[in-house]
């Protein structure tokens, strides 16, 4: 029974982890950031090089920021983990003379990126949701200071920008004040530098501000140009790659109600009118590739664990039947037929299987929790489904393991056994 419990414990742990790992890993993959990009549908071609759009501010279309709460009303609303709009403005920045600088420093035009950080979005159902760039672009890290607080006139400067535009050979650091001027010379808000961000991308050359301030500098209140959405999705399979237009109504429903990236993209474009929702292929497909591989691999290892535990349990069941030889002989000598002996022994084995399986399940759940905690920092929830599988498995394996010895036992001739031969 110890072997049985041990085998079932490992089977439980492996099964729980495998069932849970898909969701967990999908969440880990969100460290790649957004996998959907929303842009205006009727737009002139973006002239984007290295993350900076070189179109003049009045070219191209914009989208209303007020609509964004609707993202949390789509069918797969709980799979929308984060979103952040972006709006760029080209400005000239000056350091305020109060920081001990005489005269004004003239810097070349700089890109200002307006976005959300820990922003509270109003959802049409009356609730609110907090989201922002720190979730859609988790690799944007603050190396000094902190993120700006929305509502304050604060900004975060990119690390390359900070290095390049030092004041008196000191790089820009939290505490400096910058005045923004639009390219045609109108003065904008005075911004306090509260942090330095390292993104490893072109944003390192820019200044990041709350969205409202960028809208003010662009003269586009309540508007944004690009929206990044990070959604939890199911890796695409052959079905997901079918063109929704060629599907039958039943197929379309299945497709619509599966969190494929393409169906979430469709649902977003239905809610946000006049948008073009595009899948960021390198993120979505890279994720799909790796996830499906790892999942197969884990199922394989789980299967190996189940096989190994089945062998152990079968062997111990066989051994326990062999040990019972003299009892079987006695029963037969007293007149029990082979069928009765078989049923009795099978019943005993089944009882052992249930008790052993139960104990194994309890130990296995603890094992799975320890494993989940170690690897993901999050323990999988015990699932009743697993208990059911484990009990059935224990019963089946024990019966198979004891079937051959039982058949042999049924054919025993009582006399030699009782003589001890």
């Amino acid at each position: 029974m110890a072997a049985l419990a041990m085998g079932m414990a490992v089977a439980t742990a492996a099964l729980s982890v495998s069932l849970d790992v898909g969701d967990r890993l999908a969440r880990e993959f969100r460290s790649l950031g957004a996998n959907l990009l929303v842009t205006p549908e009727s737009d002139s071609l973006p002239l984007e090089i290295g993350g900076v759009d070189y179109r003049p501010a009045n070219a191209g279309s914009y989208l209303p920021e007020g609509d964004l709460g609707k993202l949390k009303t789509i069918f797969w609303r709980f799979n929308i983990l984060a979103f952040a709009p972006m709006l760029e403005a080209q400005v000239k920045l000056h350091v305020l003379p109060t920081d001990g600088v005489s005269g004004t420093l003239t810097w070349p035009p700089t890109t200002v990126i307006g976005t959300w950080v820990n922003h509270e979005v109003k959802i049409p159902d009356g609730t609110t949701y907090r989201t922002g760039i720190e979730h859609t672009n988790p690799w944007w890290q603050i190396t000094k200071g902190r993120w700006f607080v929305e509502g304050n006139k604060e900004c975060v400067v990119g690390s390359a920008f900070a290095r390049k535009h030092g004041v008196r050979s000191r790089p820009l650091a939290p505490g400096f004040h910058l005045t923004a001027y639009t390219l045609d010379g109108h003065p904008g808000p005075v911004l306090e530098v509260v942090g330095v961000a390292d993104t490893g991308g072109p944003e390192d050359e820019a200044v990041i501000v709350p969205l409202v301030l960028a809208q003010q500098l662009d003269g586009k209140p309540g508007m944004y140009r690009r929206l990044y959405v990070s959604a939890l999705t199911k890796p695409e399979d052959a079905f997901a790659r079918k063109d929704p237009k060629t599907m039958t109504p039943a197929e379309f429903d299945t497709w619509y109600c599966t969190p494929y990236i393409s169906s979430i993209a469709l649902q977003i474009s239905e809610e946000l009118k006049g948008t073009d929702v595009r899948v960021i292929r390198r993120v979505a497909e890279g994720e799909g590739h790796v996830l499906s591989r790892v999942r197969t691999l884990l199922w394989l290892v789980t299967f190996a664990a189940l096989l190994a535990s089945a062998l152990a349990v079968g062997a111990s069941a066989a051994a326990s039947v062999i040990e019972r030889r003299s009892e079987i002989g006695l029963m037969k000598a007293l007149g029990a037929n082979s069928g009765l002996v078989g049923v009795l022994l099978a019943a005993e084995q089944l009882l052992l299987a249930f008790v052993g399986g139960g104990i194994g399940y309890a130990v296995g759940i603890l094992l799975a929790r320890a494993l989940g905690q170690r690897v993901f920092g999050f323990a999988p929830e015990p699932k009743l489904f697993v208990l059911l599988v484990i009990l059935v498995l224990a019963a089946v394996i024990t019966l198979i393991g004891s079937a051959y010895p039982l058949r042999r036992a049924a054919r025993y001739d009582p006399a030699p056994i009782l003589r001890g031969e």
Binding site: L36, P46, L47, K164, E205, A315, G420
Partner: protein, 389 residues
């Protein structure tokens, strides 16, 4: 004494007296060894394979001018690199090829011939091998016949929609007084900024930008564990003076993060399965060992010391372990090659280090499972022969 012919004769008889028992023991040990070697090999292979899979994320390293200034402010050589840098990038790293593509970005005007309605668009001249690896996307239209034409160009999905062009159409490109034309051979959807770009030959872009021999940056897709990619970056940097070699943080960081998680998970589950497998084998073998009571009783009755008896059984266990381990591990390696094909589509490389490890583990398990025989030290020959215990 132990090397006496008698000792080996007893061993031989112990092994061959009951072929059924020998078969059970060998198959238990062999199965254990097979599972062990298959999983160990698969685990090592899967980790390597995973780093290859990560490359479907595209470029993870960029070679750029040291201080990328705003290209608006300085459109000439300051923000560009010399194209001779591209051949200096190693084409191999840790037995994987390194796709490297040089890009030159130009804002040019584009029109379909005849329409004369020019629209500004980003033109990206490319040269190098592995554009598809560096810039993953889906080609929605593709004309293979034009692919190797130096005059051909690839259009991003959004640009294709905006300009209303299809594969096979010809585009007119101009930048101030300089003009060029190209035939569209593919439309590509990436979901990124590339969707609004037009990809041409590097020479065409250089001619349009009037920047002969210059490039904006080089993108690389380096295969390897996060640590290996970091050391690639560190070793390439000093070899290319005046430029900056940096990882694309979005991908390098996420890869590191996910790689750690997955390899931790694999290690933990494989360890668990190996532990269980050895327990299984031990359970199976101990059952058989206890049946040896009669043999032990006889040996003691005719004057064998318990040390000699245990010695005999240990030798037997080691022999069984070696035989079962060698056969099982070989089988396991074969199985893992096949499993690798099932999971990753590529047959797993059998790694020879796995073989001795697996055999040694099997022998250790076999010896450990002979230990219940110690209990037989207390066997009293008389009661065994009376059939009491």
């Amino acid at each position: 004494m132990t090397s006496s012919p008698m000792f080996w004769r007893i061993i031989r008889r112990l092994l061959t007296a009951n072929y059924g028992r020998l078969f059970v023991l060998l198959s238990a040990l062999g199965a254990g060894a097979a599972v062990t070697s298959a999983l160990l090999n698969l685990q090592i292979d899967a980790k390597k394979r995973l780093t290859t899979e990560f490359r479907s994320l595209g470029a993870n390293v960029v070679v750029a001018p040291r201080s990328t200034t705003n290209p608006h402010a300085d459109d000439t050589s300051g923000a560009t690199l010399d194209e001779s840098l591209l051949p200096q990038i190693p084409s191999q790293y840790e037995a994987h090829s390194v796709p490297a593509v040089a890009f030159l970005y130009v804002i040019a005007e584009v029109a379909k011939p005849g329409t004369m309605h020019f629209e500004p668009a980003v033109l990206s001249g490319t040269e190098g091998h592995g554009l598809a690896e560096v810039r993953p996307g889906r080609r929605t239209q593709f004309l293979a016949s034009l692919e190797n034409d130096p005059e051909a160009c690839e259009v991003g999905a959004q640009a294709a929609k905006q300009l209303k062009v299809q594969a096979g159409d010809t585009l007119q490109l101009r930048n101030q007084a300089r003009e060029a034309r190209c035939r569209v051979f593919a439309v590509v959807a990436t979901g990124g900024a590339e969707d609004s770009q037009i990809f041409t030959n590097l020479k065409t872009a250089q001619a349009l930008a009037d920047l002969p021999g210059r490039i904006s940056l080089i993108q690389l897709s380096v295969t390897g564990t996060p640590a290996a990619v970091a050391s690639f970056i560190a070793s390439l940097g000093p070899r290319l003076p005046g430029v900056e070699v940096r990882g694309i943080k979005q991908f390098t960081e996420a890869e590191g993060h996910i790689y750690d998680r997955i390899s931790g998970l694999l290690n933990a589950t494989v360890l668990l399965v190996l532990f269980l497998t050895s327990l299984c084998v031990m359970a199976g073998m101990s059952n058989v060992a206890v049946e040896r009571k009669n043999d032990v009783g006889l040996m003691k009755a005719i004057g064998g010391s318990i040390d000699r008896v245990v010695h005999l059984f240990l030798t037997e266990a080691i022999l069984l372990g070696i035989a079962g381990g060698m056969a099982g591990s070989a089988l396991g390696l074969l199985v893992s090659v096949w499993l690798g094909k099932a999971v990753f589509g590529v047959a797993a490389h059998p790694r020879l280090i796995v073989y001795p490890i697996s055999v040694v583990l099997t022998v250790i398990t076999s010896i450990a499972s002979a230990f219940p025989l110690r209990r037989l030290a207390s066997v009293r020959p008389a009661s065994v022969f009376r059939g009491e215990e």
